[in-house]
């Protein structure tokens, strides 16, 4: 092996890399929260007896699941700035890339979350809904008090796994030159001519984070398994 490794540019760059990591985490958290809320609504629409609602949700989910995330992000980096500027009279120089990324990820991931949540709702035995309506609950009450609490309990591991996937996917904001953790690592490596070291370092950090989180999820899964 004739490549001379030189890791010396990493320690000095740590604060910059941490700034990038904060961007990655921020996008992940916003997209997870929004994705679960909007995803739940989509799943309920899709399972509802109201035809237009069910069709809208099915169309939304299938459209987003058929397009590559890179393409979705490119769309959002094109459209969101124009819409925001039009709506709020923003200065054309305001940097809205982070907002665009968050909106893009949130809307994209909610399609995937809605599929997980739909499967979770469907995993609750039908008798539970019948029992709830026999007790005089309305459809909304049955959902909120009986079905969803059980469904979410089953779904927590899957939702967390999806969050790990989402965290990995945030590296794709690279297409907009937004400095998330990966973007920051790439910039430092490019500046110092140490791309090899910085890319390996970034890979190692992602691996450690995602692997340990997935082990936590696995343990949780065992503990929460319903009898």
């Amino acid at each position: 092996m004739n490549y001379e490794f030189d890791w010396s540019s990493i320690p000095g760059a740590l604060p910059f890399l941490w700034e990038g990591m904060k961007v990655s985490l921020e996008i992940t958290v916003i997209a997870v929260i929004f994705g679960i809320v909007w995803g739940t609504l989509l799943a309920m629409m899709r399972l509802s007896p109201v035809k237009p609602l069910a069709m809208f949700a099915a169309g939304y989910v299938n459209l987003f699941r058929a397009i590559p995330l890179v393409m979705v992000l490119l769309w959002f980096f094109l459209i969101v700035p124009q819409v925001l500027r039009g709506a709020f009279n923003l200065d054309p120089n305001t940097d809205v890339r982070l907002t665009s990324a968050m909106i893009g990820f949130a809307l994209f991931e909610s399609a995937y979350y809605s599929e997980i949540i739909r499967a979770g709702i469907q995993s609750v035995p039908k008798g539970q809904v019948s029992a709830a309506s026999a007790l005089g609950m309305s459809y909304a009450q049955a959902m909120r008090l009986v079905v969803l609490p059980q469904a979410f309990r089953n779904m927590v591991p899957l939702l967390l796994t999806q969050a790990i996937v989402l965290f990995q996917d945030t590296s794709l904001v690279y297409v907009s030159a937004l400095a998330d953790f990966f973007g920051a690592a790439y910039k430092v490596g490019d500046r110092d001519g140490r791309l090899v070291e910085l890319l390996l370092f970034a890979g190692a950090v992602y691996f450690v984070l995602c692997f340990s989180l997935s082990q936590v999820v696995r343990r949780l899964q065992k503990r929460m398994a319903m009898v």
């Binding site: 092996m1 490549y3 459209l63 058929a66 397009i67 590559p68 995330l69 890179v70 393409m71 490119l74 769309w75 094109l78 124009q82 039009g86 790990i164 990995q168 996917d169 590296s171 794709l172 690279y174 297409v175 990966f182 790439y186 791309l195 090899v196 890319l199 390996l200 970034a202 890979g203 992602y206 691996f207 995602c210 692997f211 997935s214």
Partner: protein
């Protein structure tokens, strides 16, 4: 906000004059399809091998396969791609990296890196599907194979795998779809596949909406074609007696 729609741009010649913008789109589509199919061959071969290794009664071998899956699942695809493309040629021993950089033209370098990256990335997922397919078979099947005097490799070859592969066709379908979608990530290393051609068109024509709509529609078409194709394969490979079977 006024936008001048001009769908005629696709018929315009590109600056070099040797094709039209539509020609660029189609060559991008071709690259996407070629890249995804060749990566799928790698993914299926490696993934099946690893999936088998994960189930064999040998701690070392199944441990290696498990580690393999964890590595490829816990690093973002983009980072993996950059490592294959930027890091590996630098650190490969015996001058292999030098030869990769000197003997291949840049486009081939990008294509090979992208293909290998997508192939390995997807193989970890295929491995998990194959493993769950093998584990879904009743335990008696393996024992019966061994009791008949088959060796372990023979049991896999003649008893377990033919069934397991038929069981995992539906989940493999979604991995096959994913490989087309994931191939869009390869635009980041400059490979001119569909998404990259779309961005290039925006730079040259300043008509972002037409170009993005065209690219999105082409991805949707790929998606529909693959789904229809896989539905045929799924119907033919169904196992009688199982839910959804014949």
């Amino acid at each position: 906000m006024s936008y001048n729609w001009n769908w005629g741009i696709f018929g315009n010649p590109v600056p070099t004059g040797d094709t039209t913008y539509l020609g660029w789109m189609l060559s991008g589509l071709q690259t996407t399809v070629l890249l995804s199919l060749s990566a799928w061959v790698i993914a299926l071969a490696l993934g099946s091998l690893m999936g088998v290794l994960r189930t064999v009664p040998h701690k070392g071998l199944s441990g290696i396969a498990a580690a393999y899956v964890e590595v490829f699942r816990n690093i973002p695809l983009l980072v993996q791609l950059f490592i294959w493309y930027f890091v590996l040629p630098e650190v490969l021993p015996f001058g292999l990296g030098e030869r990769f950089k000197q003997d291949l033209d840049p486009v081939t370098q990008q294509f090979v890196s992208a293909m290998v990256c997508l192939g390995f990335f997807t193989s970890a997922r295929v491995c998990e599907q194959v493993r769950s397919g093998i584990n879904a078979l009743p335990r008696g099947q393996k024992n019966a194979g061994l009791a008949l005097g088959f060796t372990l490799p023979q049991t896999y070859r003649y008893v377990l795998l033919p069934m397991a592969f038929r069981l995992v066709v539906p989940p493999l379908t979604s991995e096959f779809l994913n490989i087309f979608k994931n191939s869009a990530v390869c635009s980041t290393i400059g490979l001119l596949e569909l998404a990259a051609q779309g961005r290039q068109l925006v730079d040259y024509t300043a008509q972002p909406y037409e170009s993005f709509i065209a690219v999105t529609v082409l991805y949707l078409i790929i998606n529909i074609v693959v789904m229809l194709l896989m539905r045929v394969i799924e119907t033919r490979s169904r196992v009688p007696g199982y839910i959804g079977g014949k």
